[in-house]
């Protein structure tokens, strides 16, 4: 046995678990090896010291201290009894715990739910956002109802209608406005489109409105004369802002508003009927000036170039070249024309819906600041005569924004 083997079994030797043979071999080695003998003595002294460490008795009152802890309710029980016992006095603890758990679950569930909006969210145009940013036409909580009306407050675009969502722009959180809920019924104006009178009885057109080829009133007649003739510029109300015809973007419709367009029914007809050859098409009385200044107004039956912007803002050249016209899905020219026509109105157009049932032509839903309501009425009168629904004085409790439905009808 060498020293390494001897020192390895020293603990077992001291524990007395070695076999008699191992024990005798180890003792022989320890008798001959002084370092291993010193190692054994050191090991024994260590064990002796460890065994002689004094036994530390438990302090007095240890049993009582343990019993006090056993009798003491747990921290949670204490907390529950202190905080919740007044609420559930006389109620079993399990029932109280169950009720509390249910309350917690309900509260957490309500927190996790998306915040319910009392109003419907519809996308709006960017210019409305600009108004909001400048403080004009801010959209606070929905106003209380003023005029009872069976019409629904929210406008869901029907297949025959077009809304701003038709523009193809993806609505962002910044481009959303709150349309009042059903409880807040909008004002409803029925406007007979005549174009005979404008603001304050001023003549809106150089010529009285002339019926179109199919006999429907030309809502744009006030803007000019018959087809193929040069028309004077539409006299815009003094209160309306004058916009540059060459502007783009949100002002594209503004530019269209200051220039003659096809009539509403014309556009509706073209929208609902299959593409026809330009020769058979009703006359287009005027074309707006393009950015290059080119303005053509022809009714010679031949294919011609029209630089009129389509509803998407692109030049619709196919319409006048005899090629099949592929209109973007969901774009109604009549609606686009109406938008252009109604652009000068105070407020923001939310929805334009073409009814298609004479004499009603279209229903326009607008949001306007309450303070702009008088001006709005004057603007509406530039389109025609307000037959019903006119409220001279708004109730004092009415707040922004007002939802107004303008029903355009033929006389």
């Amino acid at each position: 046995m060498d020293c390494e083997q001897a020192r390895k079994i020293l603990p077992e030797y001291l524990d007395g678990v070695l076999s008699p043979d191992q024990r005798s071999v180890l003792e022989t080695h320890l008798g001959d090896c002084e370092p291993c003998a010193r190692e054994l003595a050191s090991f024994r002294a260590y064990l002796q010291a460890m065994h002689e460490l004094p036994r530390m008795p438990a302090p007095e009152g240890f049993v009582d201290a343990v019993n006090r802890k056993l009798d003491r309710p747990s921290v949670w029980r204490t907390w529950i009894s202190e905080r919740l016992s007044p609420l559930f006095r006389g109620t079993p603890l399990r029932v109280a715990g169950l009720v509390t758990s249910v309350l917690v679950v309900v509260l957490v569930y309500q927190r996790m739910l998306p915040h319910r909006q009392p109003t419907q969210v519809v996308p709006i145009q960017s210019h409305q956002v600009e108004r909001k940013s400048t403080g004009e036409g801010a959209l606070p909580a929905a106003p209380p109802p003023v005029t009872p009306s069976p019409a629904p407050a929210h406008q869901t675009p029907s297949p025959g209608s077009a809304s701003f969502a038709d523009k193809g722009s993806k609505p962002s959180p910044e481009t959303h406005a709150h349309v009042p809920a059903e409880s807040d019924r909008p004002l409803e104006l029925v406007v007979v489109l005549s174009g005979a009178k404008g603001d304050g009885g001023r003549p809106m057109t150089a010529k009285p409105p002339a019926p179109t080829e199919n006999g429907s009133p030309d809502i744009l007649a006030r803007s000019g004369g018959s087809a193929g003739t040069a028309r004077p510029e539409r006299e815009a109300p003094a209160s309306l802002p004058q916009r540059s015809p060459s502007s783009h973007g949100p002002d594209r419709e503004t530019a269209g508003a200051s220039s003659p367009m096809i009539s509403l029914e014309e556009s509706a007809k073209s929208a609902s009927s299959p593409p026809v050859a330009p020769q058979a098409r009703p006359s287009v009385r005027a074309e707006r000036s393009s950015s290059s200044g080119e303005a053509l107004s022809k009714q010679d039956g031949a294919p011609r170039r029209d630089n009129r912007l389509s509803d998407t803002g692109e030049v619709d050249s196919a319409r006048f070249t005899g090629e099949p016209r592929h209109r973007p899905v969901g774009i109604d020219p009549a609606v686009a024309s109406l938008r252009t026509l109604l652009k000068p109105l105070s407020g923001t157009i939310v929805n334009v819906e073409r009814t298609g049932e004479p004499p009603s032509l279209a229903t326009v839903t607008l949001l306007i600041p309450a303070r702009s309501y008088p001006q709005f009425l004057r603007d509406v009168e530039t389109l025609g005569m307000i037959r019903s629904g006119r409220v001279a004085t708004l109730p004092s409790g009415r707040t922004d924004p007002l939802t107004v439905r303008v029903i355009l009808v033929s006389p």
Binding site: P11, S42, F43, A45, Y46, L47, A49, M50, H51, E52, L53, P54, R55, M56, P57, A58, P59, F62, V63, A65, V66, N67, K69, L70
Partner: protein
């Protein structure tokens, strides 16, 4: 192997009866179990923690846990082994707690440079006949306890169980859940460290 452990183990039959009664809610029976094992549990906790106050808290918590877990005691081992394993785990949990570490660090900073002994320690009974022997023994005890405190928690637990409390390797293996070989190797390493630490005073 101390006499306390032998006495408790010798009365194993009566102890089982007490355990059964205590598990049914007999507080008197549990009081008797406490009195039978409190010194050993407290001593184990003191050697593990090195502080009488911490040892008292750990020992009390040990009996609280034991009382609440009496229904889980299957009797595979002795009650002494079972409750010592609870005490060991309680001390290790306490040693690893942030509050204990923070308290120890603050205490060590407070006594830095001071030659006075730890205020939390309890002077053991001194049966030494002479002053010189008492001083030497006290020095050895202090050195040993300091060396034990310097060990890692796992090594400390096995060295206390083996060399202080006198448990066998098998019992330690059962209490710690480590294989016997692991227990032996850890004990051997811990012993080497302790012997090295107290070489000057032995």
């Amino acid at each position: 192997m101390n006499e306390e452990k032998k006495a408790v183990d010798a009365d194993d039959g009566g102890e089982r009866t007490l355990v059964t009664a205590a598990a049914r809610g007999d507080r008197d029976a549990f009081d008797r179990l406490i009195r039978a094992h409190m010194n050993r549990v407290f001593n184990l906790c003191f050697r593990m923690m090195g502080d009488s106050e911490e040892a008292g808290d750990c020992a009390q918590d040990t009996f609280l846990k034991a009382y609440r877990s009496l229904k889980d005691f299957r009797g595979d081992s002795s009650f002494s082994t079972w409750i010592c394993s609870i005490a060991l785990n309680t001390c290790k949990t306490r040693l690893q707690s942030a509050s204990y570490r923070y308290g120890r660090r603050a205490a060590s900073l407070a006594v830095t440079g001071s030659s006075t002994p730890d205020a939390g320690s309890v002077d053991p009974p001194d049966p030494a006949p002479t002053v010189l022997e008492a001083m030497e023994r006290h020095e050895v005890e202090q050195s040993l306890q300091t060396a034990i405190q310097a060990l890692p928690a796992d090594a400390r637990s096995v060295i206390v169980l083996r060399d202080v409390e006198g448990f066998s390797y098998e019992e330690i293996s059962r209490m710690t859940g480590w294989p016997i070989g692991t227990v032996k190797s850890r004990i051997a390493r811990a012993r080497d460290q302790l012997r090295t630490a107290i070489r000057g005073v032995l």
